[in-house]
């Protein structure tokens, strides 16, 4: 199974397959071995060194030893231990917690992405990005109007929720295409407030 995983703007090609009860993983052409165990909603990943193994060397098949890029020696190779939890937001959007650090990742099946490419291209060409309400709340202030030029992270609208005022900012440089809210309006979670193009 080959997947593409995008993290912080970088896409990696990850191939995973079962082997001897563990997993063999090729990430951007490099081979690693991964042992996975589950513990109460958490995953324990033991990741072997690049080209090495997560378990004691002498017990390995010869063909596996051959794959150890450059390591040569037959002694036990230490695996690095990672505690992992996955917060699946749906649609391939994940927040992967590795050793307590939350790393947002987007995972795609490249073949499915191939089929969907036409649609993606259209969205990209259009270039409109919606700024949505992160939760139900009340619009306290609208800081821009349609047609305004905005820069990335510029404040667009202030929404009050959970007793706090929150400024929602421009996702990118551009122009305000549409303002759909007025001050004092109540908005639902995920409602489109402003569109930037």
């Amino acid at each position: 199974m080959i997947l593409s995983v995008e993290i912080a703007g970088r896409t990696r090609r990850v191939e995973v397959s079962r082997a001897d009860g563990g997993w063999e993983v090729t990430i951007d052409g490099r081979y690693v071995q991964v042992d996975v165990a589950e513990a109460g909603g958490w995953l324990s990943l033991l990741v072997g060194p690049a080209g090495g193994s997560a378990i004691a060397g002498p017990a390995l098949h010869d063909d596996r030893k051959d794959r150890r890029a450059g390591s040569g020696e037959a002694g036990p190779a230490a695996a690095t231990s990672y505690g992992v939890a996955i917060d699946d937001r749906g649609d391939g959007e994940l927040i992967v917690h590795v050793n307590g650090i939350a790393i947002p990742a987007t995972v795609r099946d490249p073949r499915a992405a191939w089929r969907a490419r036409g649609h993606d291209a259209a969205t990209a060409a259009d270039g409109r990005t919606d700024v949505r309400a992160p939760m139900p709340g009340r619009v306290v202030k609208v800081l821009v109007k349609a047609g305004d030029a905005v820069t990335a992270r510029q404040g667009l609208v202030v929404v009050e929720a959970m007793k706090m005022e929150n400024e929602l900012r421009a996702p990118k440089d551009g122009r305000v295409a549409d303002v759909r809210v007025k001050e004092g309006m109540s908005v639902d979670a995920n409602a489109v407030l402003i569109t930037v193009e």
Partner: protein, 503 residues
Amino acid sequence: MRKILIANRGEIAVRVIRACRDAGIRSVAVYSDCDRAALHVRMADEAIAIGPNPPADSYLRIDRLLDAARETGADAVHPGYGFLAENESFARQSRDAGLVFIGPSAEAIELMGSKTAARQAARRAGVPVVPGTDEPLGPEIADADIAAIADGLGYPVMVKAVAGGGGKGMRLVESREQLVSAVRSARSEAATAFGDPSIYLERRIVRPRHIEVQLLGDATGHIVPFVERECSIQRRHQKVIEESPSPVASAALRRALGDAAATVARSVGYTNAGTVEFLLDEEGRFYFLEMNTRLQVEHPITEMVTGVDLVQWQIRIARGEALTLDPASVLEPRGHAMECRIYAEDADAGFIPSPGRISALRRPSGPGIRDDSGVEAGGEVPTFYDPMISKLIAWGEDRSQATARMLRALNEYDVVGIRTSIPFFRWMLRQPAFVSAAFHTGYLDELLQQRAGEPFSAWEPSLEEVAAIAAALHATPRQHRSTDIAVAPAAWKQQARVEGLRG
């Protein structure tokens, strides 16, 4: 006292339930609709519904809380902090209903609730106050008159709500042009939050530190001040990290602060737990700021460096017991403690609230760590209330050990399903100015402005690779797995064992 109704929710309700259990007193939790399965409800001995989700319909409904106390046969009520904790009407009506209110008298709450009356009380007691107005400026006072007062004080000035607290209705005004709009917005915020648009002005102390003194007072007029807390790490006037002792307080300053706090409290006949807040200027002079007539969020750090259970003492004082604490021992810190307020907020997206379901939770522990949390895995963080989910407290023999332990605990802490302010704290504790304690109340806001929204989350490239692998394993459809991944290690080990025997 046999049964206490806790008129609050979240971590502070849990904290009070624990104190009740230690004292062999039964506890009654109250809950709104969305809090039915909340941790405080499950931990209490009894629980009773008090209405719909909005605070105004449940946790702020004095009539329903008093009904709940009557129906459950509670003989005392603990208000926690926030909600009705500093509402003199709640204290008075509880007393009138024959309940023991675990806190100061309604009269003391009312007096100190007016920030201008509190300033006058401090001045009368001979404690220095920040130069400013001692009378409330109601909505009838013309902008021009307020501008004249501000001119007299000299800019920058602070505009503050008379009924204020928690940083609400507070504005910093750098120059005369900003004054009118600041007064207007402070008035409107104060009217919404406290039902009183009155404001007052204070001269802005340049780069002050926020230092406060916890105290306890009993019914005989005996007041005991504790070693100070420093709460200068603030975001938009809200405390974010607190520590005790203050890294800059000498023994002489500590005694002077304790004496000043006790003098103010004594002058108003204060009983139970309270906190006197001061500003410390760059020359080491301190000024009375206000008095909080309740248990503070940050009370655990005082407990850690003195070994005193403050909530236990609140109950004992309310029961009529005399304070038997040794004043010298509670003024002398044992080691160093700090607290991080963990919020359900996405720090990387400008600290926007992040309510939702916590799907998994790993809480830190180990030497010197205390986690006062109000949530559990599987629980919801509702949108209706303050988004603080936990207070992480670290104790060490000195400040550097406390900081190291806090960082270790922050790295252990993992909340899955919602975003939290934990990445911010991991970053904050490594800032050189934090490490050297060279900060003031405006320091964090200045620092955040410089960062201009740059995210706090950071990771090594190797972690990113592991995240990519985990994401791919997660996304691999079941039919591509010969067996569930949970079974994998056992099978792999067995295979290795077989091969080992063969060799």
